[in-house]
Symmetry: C2
DNA sequence: TACAACCTTTACGTCAACGTTAAGGTTATG
DNA sequence: CATAACCTTAACGTTGACGTAAAGGTTGTA
């Protein structure tokens, strides 16, 4: 019989999370303030405690912001309540009612499909800009060639 | 002998530019304030007057912001003094000193190459995110398949 | 030339996304 | 159990990217 009380995974305090992610503590708390990330737990003295999935989520948020250029509000839409759902989904994968599992999986599928659609829209806009820049580069090189080697 | 005094192209006032680009006049003036765009000319009464290349530049700025998610400061770096250089380059293409033309073309080439490099960095970040999302989608569909049809 | 419709600069307001104290409670170690 | 190092909430400050008036000059048409 496994231990059901003690936490078997190491939980990180906010400063450690900041060190790992390169974010500031203020920023991490702010993301919580606007509903992007709830810490996995709190200590007795109310310290925030984060698990590995929280770290993943933070990195994901960072890349949605930096690579894709989404606002925090948009990121909130993209992530929705994914964390809560994931926890639910874990619980439901313990229970083996296939009907319930199916409901949650279909929901997850839809959400990820929407994410991909949004990302691909961004990507195609970028691709068009790259094409145009390359066309300009081609014209410039054409003019250079006209001048002889 | 061509007319060298009168402007042969139609210049637009700021409100017309706003209508064409879907931006506000305030925003266009703000872009000037931060050095992103100087109007082609001013009227006697100091009205801003824009030409077609100004319109292009504004659309380009918009897409750097919306599609690529660059800040106005980054866009300033990307564009640098491209407008001034373009005007110089036009003058220099009237003069047919190949040495001077070569200098300006090489400079333009370098600038566009830098633009492309930056855009491609963004694009590859996005592509990686899309790949990851698709991997997640695959896993979800795998679980669904396990549940039977 | 009178007037509406447009323009100018100047300046203050706003919202997102944090940074920066301030005042005090918590944890781990000697 | 004392103390440094960490944490908490609360609140105000800042920067970028504009929005929104205010006070007055310019353009074009009747």
């Amino acid at each position: 019989m496994p231990n059901t009380h003690a936490p078997q995974v190491r939980l990180l305090r906010i400063n450690e999370v900041a060190a790992e992610t390169g974010m500031t503590t203020r920023r991490i708390r702010y993301y919580e303030e606007v509903g992007l990330l709830e810490p996995a737990a709190r200590s007795d003295g109310d310290y925030r405690l984060y698990d590995a999935s929280d770290l993943d989520r933070l990195q994901f948020i960072r890349r949605l912001r930096d690579d894709a250029g989404f606002s925090l509000a948009q990121i909130g839409q993209l992530l929705e309540d994914e964390a809560a759902r994931e926890r639910n989904r874990e619980r439901l994968s313990q229970t083996n009612d296939p009907v319930e599992r199916r409901v949650y999986l279909l929901d997850a599928e839809e959400r990820v499909e929407r994410q991909i659609a949004l990302l691909e829209a961004k990507a195609s806009g970028l691709a068009r800009m790259i094409d145009e820049a390359q066309a300009r580069l081609g014209r410039i090189r054409g003019h250079l060639a006209e001048l002889g080697s």
